[in-house]
Symmetry: C2
Subunit: 121 residues, 2 copies
DNA sequence: TATGGAAATGATAATCATTTTCATTTGTGA
DNA sequence: TCACAAATGAAAATGATTATCATTTCCATA
């Protein structure tokens, strides 16, 4: 947890939703911080490893990051404005476990995200 | 549905699991087909639009494609060998709908995939 | 069958996010 | 202060995907 990591956490706190590495870099630059793009990627990687931020992918495959609450959860993301709600997996946690067992899979993980338009969009 | 689309469907039938555009291109080349990479991308794009193949993303963001069964379903994918089982969403379908309603989201879609190691791996 | 335009094709170049390299700077404990 | 490790960022490399554009293949109609 170094200086750059903290900068990224700070930006992510302010932006709220998901943002790409390039976008986060631009925001920091606009604010007068001369941080390099390389360092932004490094910091994000490190934060993902430490499970402090979540990584998922835009439709075009670009990685997007978001400061995350603790523990396992899922997301409800607005395709219009990017607003994101963290939600519990509820019934799908068992679904994933059951399906995996049924087909003899071990060491399973799962992803589940919901996309739509929020009430404002 | 043109000649190239059919070639891609044929390769996807033979490979079974998910494969990237680059991999599918290599397979066709190895079989003596001189099809261009551009055409492979175009055919895959068209098949995805027509919902004949499914597109998802590797961890590194690379797009992978698979010939799909009809209708809405999810996947159980082996991280070792790529073997893929198509499974029903079951509890997820209601979960997605309920969560979306609760937060006032419209026009919702969802993704849910399970990853693990199959019994052979 | 000939023909003119539309659709398909593929080589090549352009994009663009991400990763590598590597020289320089900064931080830190002895 | 000194030595050494960690952090930083400019620049180049990588690699998937997309855009161009000239050429070829189809196909309907005369
Ligand atoms: Mn989250
Ligand atoms: Mn499928
Ligand atoms: Zn919105
Ligand atoms: Zn396997």
């Amino acid at each position: 947890m170094n200086k750059s990591d903290l900068k990224l956490i700070s930006v992510l706190e302010r932006t709220g939703g998901f943002a790409s590495a390039q976008e986060l870099h631009q925001i920091l630059r606009r604010e007068g911080d001369g941080i390099g793009l390389t360092t932004v990627y490094r910091a994000l990687q490190s934060l993902v490893d430490d499970k402090i931020v979540d990584l998922l992918r835009r439709d075009d495959g670009e990685a997007i990051y978001r400061l995350c609450g603790d523990g396992h959860h899922h997301h409800l993301v607005c395709k219009g404005c990017g607003q994101t709600v963290e939600i519990e997996g509820g019934a799908i946690e068992n679904w994933a476990k059951t399906m995996a067992e049924e087909f003899g899979f071990r060491e399973v993980a799962h992803t589940a995200e919901i996309f739509g338009l929020c009430s404002k969009c």
